[in-house]
């Protein structure tokens, strides 16, 4: 052994008094301004769409329920939980976040003895960096990983459309549809809001894959009227679209129309693999051929039921044909959807009035069950002085007459009372008829609701104005002035609010702020009522009505008279998609009812 070997361990001791090479972590050292440190999440604006989870290449994110965050329309109630055992702080989750709720702080040190502490829900599990301003945020604007702008839908120019009833929305081309479909992040938040719970991300995906037959199959799983819904659905889905938080929501309605438009009707049976249904020997009568009746008939027919629809009017479709103007929903497209349903063996008896031509009791005895989707066709009156004049009309009556091909009264100066879609429909129809008759438009629509809370779809209001109709919202009608038995106009007063604090209808007016709309014809469009004269007193006794006079049904739309199911506008809506959903659900209920009956 050499002397050096003996001494060398002691030489190590000299380091005891030497400055160390490494330094202690200086806690005060701050990360750079845009450092990608620990996650923050604004829990209020996060909607739990899961796009962060989808994009994460390290599978570091889980979506978990959080106490106190409710699942509701537009919010899954889930929030992202991040596993720092896998995260690499690439910030793709931040860059793709549809609401910009997720961001990274510039904090980068975190010491804990419990490894599970590093799995946490940003924004819910409180952290020291929650209020740190610095760090990585999605730069705005033009830093989106998906398209924020909707592909423009081609339309006829206002001047080309305001004289005729031809369809003015021309539909997407293949390229436009695929481009629009490409903006979808497939979160599926929309599905819960759709009354029919359509497989929206799935059919949008089918468009991206250019597999429109698969798209059609997905549509028909929940909706047998895709041409119709693709045009006039109230598209509640688009209101909750996650992309809509920081951009234009997906044009879900037009994409649905694209799928239906591209599939030729003669191929439907083959694509949908229908036609091999065995008749089960049971019969169901359906009153009314509107969306709920047709939907019930379609799903019942698929299950083997023999369905007969009784329709009061000469053609099928209910409000879709007799309420919605042709320029929004052409008759041949209604026929395409309905004819397919008829091709499955569903029968329609036209011009039959239940209660007078055939009694409800007769249907009860001839069929195993009855579904009624008779809708809201009775116009409601404002009952203001003068409203009983012969030149005061109900919008629904006029729209029906137009669809029946009858000539209606069209005056030079018209005022429409109402701010819903029906009011816009009659306003725009009258504008076209005035244009044809007088070469000019002079129609004014006025509603109780102010512009921001008008119940009509926004585009309806915009398009009405493009067609030179005047929309003047926020006025309550007080009286109709009549001179020498002729209408002079409508007196209104300013409406300050429509609903009280608890959301009940209770309009408040400023009686001093008044206005006079000159008119020689007035149309009331303030809502519709149901006509259930066909339900005989004996049956009516078995049906439960709520304090406001509405029919009470169970979740399958079964009434107290067990054999009678009622759905559609009478129960929910009024709109097409609720009707379709009701009809589908009622079909399931009717199937259950008949089967347990033996």
């Amino acid at each position: 052994m050499k002397l050096k070997d003996i001494l060398s361990p002691f030489t190590a001791w000299k380091h005891v008094v030497k400055e160390p090479v490494t330094i202690k972590d200086p806690q005060s050292r701050e990360g750079a301004e845009r450092y990608r440190g620990f996650h923050k999440n604004d829990i209020e604006s996060c909607i739990g769409c899961g796009t962060c989870e989808d994009i994460c290449q390290n599978e570091a994110i889980d979506l978990v329920p959080v106490d106190g965050i409710e699942t509701k329309d537009g919010d899954s109630g889930l929030r992202p939980m991040i596993d720092y055992g896998r995260c690499c702080w690439c910030a793709l989750c931040v860059d793709v976040c549809t609401t910009n709720s997720l961001s990274l702080s510039n904090h980068f040190t975190w010491v804990d003895e419990d490894p599970d502490a590093f799995r946490f829900i940003p924004g819910v599990d409180k952290k020291a960096w929650d209020n740190e301003e610095k760090g990585w945020k999605k730069p705005e604007p033009n830093y989106e990983l998906y398209g924020t702008e909707r592909v423009h839908m081609p339309e006829l120019h206002a001047e080309d459309r305001d004289k005729s009833f031809i369809e003015f929305v021309t539909g997407y081309s293949k390229q436009q549809a695929e481009e629009e479909a490409d903006r979808c992040v497939e979160c599926g938040i929309c599905t819960a809001t759709c009354p029919a719970h359509m497989g929206i991300p799935e059919y949008i995906k089918a468009i991206r894959n250019d597999d429109l037959e698969e798209g059609l199959r997905i549509l028909y799983e929940t909706n047998p009227l895709p041409e119709i819904c693709g045009r006039i659905c109230t598209h509640k889905c688009e209101d909750v679209c996650s992309i809509g938080h920081k951009g234009d929501p997906l044009s879900i309605r037009w994409l649905k129309r694209y799928i239906a438009d591209q599939n030729p009707s003669e191929k439907y049976k083959e694509i949908l693999n229908a036609g091999n249904v065995e008749n089960n020997g049971k019969k169901v009568a359906i009153i009314g051929s509107g969306p709920s009746g047709l939907s019930a008939a379609y799903y019942l027919a698929l299950t083997g039921y023999d369905c007969t629809i009784y329709e009061k009017l000469p053609e099928a479709g209910g409000m879709m044909r007799y309420g919605i103007p042709e320029y929004r929903l052409p008759y041949d497209q209604i026929d395409k959807d309905i004819n397919y349903i008829l091709s499955l063996g569903v029968k329609i008896e036209y011009n039959v009035n239940i209660g007078t031509d055939i009694t409800l009791d007769k249907l009860k005895s001839d069929y195993d069950a009855v579904f009624a989707g008779t809708g809201l066709h009775l116009g409601r009156s404002t009952r203001i002085p003068g409203s009983d004049h012969k030149d005061v009309f109900f919008a629904t009556d006029l729209l029906r007459e137009i669809s029946l091909g009858k000539e209606i009264q069209v005056s030079e100066k018209i005022v429409v009372i109402g701010g819903g879609n029906v009011a816009m429909d009659i306003t725009r129809s009258l504008a076209r008829l005035q244009n044809n008759k007088f070469g000019k438009v002079d129609v004014t629509a006025t509603s109780l609701e102010s512009e921001d809370i008008m119940p009509a779809d926004r585009e309806e209001v915009v398009e009405s104005r493009e067609e030179k109709a005047i929309i003047d919202p926020g006025w309550g009608p007080t009286s109709i002035e009549i001179e020498n038995d002729k209408i002079k106009g409508l007196h209104v007063q300013k409406c300050l609010s429509v609903f009280d604090e608890s959301g009940r209808f209770s309009p408040k007016f400023d009686e001093k702020d008044t206005k006079f709309f000159e008119a020689d014809m007035i149309v009331e469009s303030i809502g519709q009522g149901m006509d259930i004269e066909y339900i005989n007193p004996e049956t009516r006794d078995q049906i439960e009505f709520d304090p406001r006079g509405r029919i009470v049904v169970d979740e399958y739309f079964q009434t107290g008279a067990k054999w009678l199911f009622i759905g559609g506008d009478i129960i929910q809506g009024p709109d097409v998609i609720h009707g379709i959903a009701n009809g589908h659900k009622a079909a399931i209920g009717i199937d259950k009812f008949i089967n347990q009956d033996g």
């Binding site: 899961g50 979506l63 599926g188 599905t191 819960a192 979740e555």
Partner: protein, 172 residues
């Protein structure tokens, strides 16, 4: 270039641009060509040695990228070797740093260079016991799933399904 062509069995020449060309040569003549280029043609500097996996052709492609500092031009020498017998003569005697490239190629592609210093020592993958990861038949995702499995207790929810469960559980 003509001089090289007469002396060596060049199978392919690509003149990418004025100062960059690629030539292909059979495996057995490659090292003598590279030596000739270094000692006679002024390509004194080795820029890099790299490989590509042509799985469908069952070949690896080696590229010796050489630089002539006087003429300011680059020349890539390409050699195709079989994937099955993935060995190549070493070139570390020409440039010392080639040994490092060869060690890396051994580890990532499984191409052997017998005689190259430390060629069998792990380069960056410590304790690797799988297929060399740059080979294209190595399934990165599968490896990652087998090796880096999620920690126990993790559970996630699909937003659409979760909303159905909460809001309309009874519907189809």
């Amino acid at each position: 270039m003509n001089d090289i062509k007469t002396k060596f069995d060049i199978t392919d020449i690509i003149e990418q641009r004025e100062n960059l060309s690629f030539i292909t040569i059979p495996k057995e003549h490659a090292i003598s060509l590279v030596t000739y280029l270094r000692d006679v043609k002024g390509f004194k500097h080795l820029v890099l040695l790299t490989a590509a996996d042509w799985l469908e052709d069952e070949e690896f492609q080696l590229t010796y990228l050489l630089n002539n500092p006087d003429e300011k031009s680059d020349l890539g020498v390409r050699v195709f070797i079989s994937r099955e017998d993935a060995t190549m003569e070493t070139a570390h005697h020409l440039w010392e740093q080639v040994a490092t490239y060869q060690r890396e190629l051994k580890e990532m592609f499984g191409i052997d260079f017998p005689g190259s210093p430390d060629v069998d020592k792990p380069f960056i993958l410590e304790g690797w016991d799988d297929k060399p990861p740059y080979r294209r038949d190595f399934d990165t995702k599968q490896y990652s799933e087998d090796t880096y499995f999620p920690r126990p207790g993790r559970e996630s929810n699909d937003p659409a399904e979760y909303m159905k469960k909460k809001l309309y559980p009874d519907e189809k």
